[in-house]
Symmetry: C2
Subunit: 390 residues, 2 copies
């Protein structure tokens, strides 16, 4: 099947790795950040803008796409790549997280999750097998197993139950992919998801059993849900030590630049998060030197680009003053230009991380990036612009 992962390099002083994932849709250099294309588009952006930003993989939401336009439509239009005209790699989630967070009703049984569509209220059932069939129907390159999520403060008993069920569901999903392959379908890769909340013993117990299943990669689930950054990073370190070196590791839902930097140091290869692009649509972007609230009136006359160190389309062409105006006027172009920067910034961050790993100097890169991010340089508005004639 058309999936491979090559470990290109390990860093000297940290657990950071550089790798290459190959799928039917091409190569993905890791570490990699995946922008989120919830409903078949990374909000406001065209596929060419994603490519121009250096992006070679994106995430699409199975729950949203299966409700609208529906798997049948996507399949009839030639699959998700052809439908949205994205030639790169696509990873889809299982739909489980969205069912749990968006459905007005969700009831978990051993069979699966019963839920109501947040769009029309219709009832449906998402089983581990159905999650695999839907993702295959969408034409994804990398599918995720359906897992059972627990809340950050769930009692130990609930965590244990969820771990056991996650493992059983993982096996069922894998078996379903086997059946699809027997039928000439299911060529996608499939990742298992490790659970256990912030209980290292449970996470270890979960992975012990997942490791027996021939997944193409493994995800770190149930983290960054309110447990705190320190504890989250501890769990990342713990999981990564258990995960096999020859499979990609995906930390789900993580996307703050500094979290990415620290998780890469612990051995993570893949990330996804709506944070950078959602922030951007609200007028806030991450830049090399911190968090820039460009919609603030203070930037009304700031002639500098969002990030003077960035070479994205937006930063090459437009001023903070113009973006500030676009946000003040409610112009959609503002969301777009900020989103272009947001994706480019995250992709460049992971590309720079990769270069540092290949050079065996990731620890230095991490420290410098961290210090630069907390420097706040260029965040103070300047009354720039073209001087008035005196």
């Amino acid at each position: 099947m058309a999936f491979s992962f090559n470990l290109d390099a390990r860093d000297t002083h940290t657990a950071a790795r550089a790798g290459t994932i190959a799928t039917r849709a091409g190569k993905v250099l890791t570490p990699a950040f995946m922008p989120v294309g919830t409903a078949g588009s990374v909000k406001t952006l065209s596929p060419d803008e994603l490519r121009d930003a250096g992006c070679d993989i994106l995430l699409a939401n199975t729950y949203h796409l299966s409700l609208r336009p529906g798997v049948d439509t996507v399949r009839r239009m030639g699959g998700l790549h052809e439908f949205m005209r994205w030639p790169g790699t696509i990873l889809t989630d299982s739909g489980g997280f969205q069912v749990m967070s968006l459905s007005p009703l969700r009831r978990i049984t051993e069979d699966g999750v019963e839920f109501r569509s947040h769009l029309d209220g219709s009832r449906a059932m998402l089983t581990p097998e159905e999650a695999i069939r839907i993702q295959d129907g969408l034409g994804t390159d990398i599918a995720m197993s359906l897992d059972e999520l627990v809340e950050a403060q769930a009692p130990p008993e609930a965590v244990r139950t969820a771990v056991d069920r996650t493992v059983r569901w993982a096996a069922r999903g894998l078996a379903e992919r086997g059946r699809l392959r027997d039928a000439g379908l299911g060529s996608m890769a499939l990742f298992g998801i490790n659970q256990g909340g912030t209980d290292a013993i449970e996470r270890g117990r979960c992975f012990e059993r997942l490791a027996e299943l021939p997944f193409d990669g493994y995800a770190l689930g149930g983290l960054w849900v309110g447990e705190g950054r320190r504890l989250g990073l501890d769990m990342v370190e713990h999981d990564s030590r258990l995960f096999p070196a020859d499979r990609p590791r995906y930390l789900m839902g993580v996307g703050h630049p500094m979290d990415v930097i620290d998780a890469v140091a612990r051995g993570v290869d893949l990330f996804d998060c709506v944070l950078p692009t959602r922030n951007a649509r609200r007028g806030t972007v991450f830049i090399s030197t911190g968090r820039l609230v460009v919609k603030n009136a203070a930037y009304a006359h700031d002639a500098r680009p969002l990030d003077p160190e960035c070479d994205c389309y937006t930063c090459r062409r437009f001023s903070r003053a113009y973006l500030r105006h676009l946000f003040a006027a409610g112009e959609l172009l503002g969301m777009r230009l900020a989103s272009i920067h947001a994706v480019h910034h995250m992709v460049r961050l992971t590309r720079d991380a990769r270069a540092a790993i290949l050079a065996g100097r990731y620890a230095t890169f991490r420290d410098q990036t961290w210090n630069r991010y907390h420097s706040g340089d260029t965040l103070v508005p300047t009354p720039g612009g073209v001087p008035e004639p005196s």
Copy 2:
């Protein structure tokens, strides 16, 4: 001053003309359609997308820009071209139309129009002189005189009063530009606006006096405000016969493709309208063969582009099915892709018109374009897509 108009060709059997306007910002081939960049952006589109669509001139709204971000900000940022990074020609309106249509209060006196900002309710006064100073402050290439508008069904006395005031205001605006030029400013071109509603005698009387003023071009005002297409075109024919051949003629607010085609035949050079792009943002586009409501569910499996005869970015890359999905899902990318087509379609229409005029066959072009538009070809949804494996 950096403004010229060259009459490149006259059509053989109609009054259609092909010309070239040259401004500080470059050349504008006419007939030309100007997309509307109300608040400093043609909604959802980047300046590069406008260029790619073949656009060389756009219109910006003086009223909106003077309220937000304000003339001072635009001037400090180097003028509107630099602020929005649009290298082509910019024509600004006088602000009068928006004052009349958007302000919760407007009182017309001989001095000017008193109004309240629709944003913060603050009172302000727009005089003919101020309209010129604001447009010069924005850094426009072509400014418009402040005129007094009358409603479609205004009584004759009101029309006469408005005509008289429009002429006095035109003279005051021209004098103000003279003062600006004495001060080393005001290098922009200035167009006068003909009024008189649908009363040919009043329009003739208005133009008789405007013609005495050395405007760089003339606009047809007060049309397409509810008087009906037939009567509007009669007034276009009437005005165009009076207007001097060596100045550009601009029909304000007209943008339905078939109206543009018919007005070009009567001698108009310039058009602007929000209709194509506003429609596009709502999921309806003009294509060669009619009006396509792409947001309709009927297009959910239509694999064809919006317009199979169009070579815009959107039509080269995306299906109706995908656009339909984006509109159904409320994805901003849908508005964007439809807007790209909308601008491209209007620009191409006027470019094709120009080619026909240069070839002396505009009447044929008009008839063919009209017939094609009313053919409805390709508007019927097809259940396209990739065939299901049987």
